[in-house]
Symmetry: C2
Subunit: 417 residues, 2 copies
């Protein structure tokens, strides 16, 4: 029998760029937690998840409960984490417009590391433990952001400069497509006034007539605005993601616009399905093993979407290569994941893994060969980002506070438009 | 890489007793298919499923498609079986009141054998590949049948004699409980007239005041009868299984009776959930890896039940030890499978496995230790039941035709009462 004997949780800060959304702008760094589960035989399983304070506390509070766990015992993992986090709670600040259950996030993060261990124990890639691949390469979409120019003194590099107009966004998209070959484009919206975002999407359509397009304002629009935009973008969007907040708002928009609504804000845990199905509030659910509870839970999610005639896509937060590998294994083994997956990865120019950086060909990634996730850590890079975490003094994500540095009279408003 | 190089499908006939249901009586034998998947290295994975003609044909027609399959590639297994069975169809005769998709049955049967191979390759029990056990022992319920005495000349033995009255049924239950320690009792109903079945359940309640009780007439009642019986058995039943046929009928009964309705006839594939949820037609779904599409699909089913607030129990057809082992591994790893599982196993006094026959303690079974399912075949017993298949001339189940041998003017009627 194999058991986990050592749990290491390391918060990392990763240089980021001033990417905009409806609540503000990305801070100079984004935070991730690196998870290492070490067995009695010294084998190490890797995981990666959010690095903000509540997640970090939850990971640390439940770490001891994992000692002695067999990495195949995923039910027991869930039980141990639940017991270690009485009261549960969420991972986001109480002001957040959407939250994820701490138990789902923590158990899911540890589950990925257990799956990595399982694969290493069997000398098989994680995808083989998820039913085997249904596709050799996983399509990702370009994730387009309006952005400010990077202020002097911020860590990292910014090869992009300011992108704050429809025409500049088309240029950003051209570079993404030229560099990575993406065949789908997603715009983070809710930033410019609605007419400018409509114009942006139409210009993207003109520049990329064959690319499926999406826009995601993170609930930044009123129902009225969302319906207006949805109608204006008839024939332009493959789906409209979280135009408004709340199940009733989504249902109201869904009834009026011609395209499916996607979500990573209205339906973000299994308990949300009964209401969503009853109200036909969303038509595409975004998978994300980081908050749905891990890779196995994400497979259940896929079956629920299949069963209820819902589309399935994949959500991304800013992340490093461990998460990217897990996302790729999952997507490769999920038959009804038919939309290109979101990823922030091209925005990040540093990673903690050894070997060549994963590179997109025609917008797709091959499946890491394993064993496990197929990832090896570069200790020097881990140390560098762990040092940056300590130096950065950032322990939570706050895009609104960051925005005030650029726009002193900025006011947080969801919906904004 | 491991691949399957040889697929053997062996139809078996197993001596059975004249157990009654609303459509007739069990034939002298029940049929099963034994599946053996052999790898290039000579390792053999075992599976067991229905043995009637359509299933047997489907298994044989898709056998060649499995050559070269990696037993971890369960998605590919499903794809290959689907491609080998164009047109799909069901496993039951067109007159059946409920049917199962041939692709689900065939892919599910082969999936279990692949999981057995996986476990053997890893030297781990199948339960470890399903997330690990959440309970050390799996509770089963006594499966009580009204029955005729065994006619002279039928194979096998009958230690029970005729059981055709409420009092005789209480005696049958006493023996089941004395012999196996069952803590839950299920009656196959729809056989005697409704007042006698009500009397039977009330007498069982008096004899076993602490045992959860169920009755399952296989859709043999009208909505009116079902509501009358449901009301009469208020406080007596933990659930009422398939009192009537059809989603609307179940919904009509569910609105009027005080106990939850369970089903293995109204909701028997994933596509049935949207209508069932919308109509609140059933409150407990019966799992059965033989028709839900295998062990992994049954885990998805569990999550769907959890998500939509539905109870989860487990269905049984007449079966041998391979199916029993698979059922036990699955139940042991399914947190929300909180009802005792059905099994016909105590009615069967022969098996094809070596070693001691699984024995119930306090109505529960321990988890087979593996590797894989933890089953080894006894070739002499396999040959014996394969010979009986050839000698029996039974290739399909037909309880109504069998009933005519006992009751020449018997008429098939569903609903009967």
């Amino acid at each position: 029998m194999v058991t986990i004997q050592n749990v290491r949780v390391t918060p990392l800060a990763v240089p980021d760029l001033p990417l905009l959304n409806c609540k503000g702008v990305h801070q100079p760094v984004f935070l991730r937690s690196l998870i290492e589960l070490e067995t009695d035989a010294g084998l190490v399983g890797l995981g990666e998840t959010y690095g903000a304070q509540r997640t970090l506390d939850g990971l640390r509070k439940s770490a001891d409960a994992l000692i002695g766990l067999d990495p195949f015992y995923l039910n027991d993992l869930r039980r141990r984490v639940s017991a270690a986090l009485p009261g549960g709670g969420g991972v986001n600040a109480p002001t957040a417009v959407a939250d994820h259950r701490l138990v789902d996030v923590v158990a899911g993060a540890y589950e990925v590391a257990c799956m990595d261990l399982q694969g290493k124990l069997l000398d098989r890639p994680v995808c083989d433990l998820l039913g085997g691949p249904v596709r050799d390469r996983v399509p990702f979409s370009a994730y387009l952001f309006f952005k400010f120019d990077r202020p002097a003194g911020q860590p990292g590099t910014d090869l992009w400069g300011e992108v704050m107009t429809p025409d500049a966004m088309v240029e950003e998209a051209r570079r993404f497509v030229a560099d990575h070959g993406f065949k789908s484009l997603k715009l983070k919206g809710g930033v410019l006034e609605p007419d400018l975002e409509i114009e942006t999407m139409i210009k993207l359509r003109e520049a990329f007539p064959d690319h499926p397009l999406r826009i995601d304002p993170n609930g930044g629009w009123t129902v009225e605005t969302a319906i207006k935009i949805g109608k204006a973008l008839d024939g332009v969007l493959e789906y409209l993601e979280d135009p408004v907040l709340g199940m009733d708002g989504m249902a109201a928009v869904a009834r009026e616009v011609p395209m499916p609504l996607a979500t990573n804000m209205a339906v973000i845990e299994f308990d949300h399905f009964p209401e969503s199905v009853q109200k036909d509030a969303v038509q595409v659910v975004l998978s994300d093993h980081h908050y749905w509870g891990g890779l196995q839970a994400s497979k259940h999610l896929a079956q629920i979407c299949q069963t209820f005639g819902l589309g399935l896509s994949m959500h991304s937060n800013s992340h490093l290569g461990i998460s990217l590998a897990a996302m790729t294994h999952l997507a490769a083994t999920t038959p009804n994941l038919t939309y290109a997956c979101d990823t922030h990865y091209p925005w990040v120019d540093i990673d903690i893994t050894t070997g060549a950086r994963p590179s997109f060909t025609d917008g797709t990634l091959g499946i890491p060969r394993g064993p496990g996730l197929g990832i090896e850590l570069d200790p020097a890079r881990v140390a560098e980002l762990a040092d940056l975490y300590k130096a950065s003094n950032v322990t939570d994500r706050d895009d609104t506070a960051e925005m005030l540095k650029y726009v002193p009279d900025y006011e947080r408003k969801v919906p904004r438009w």
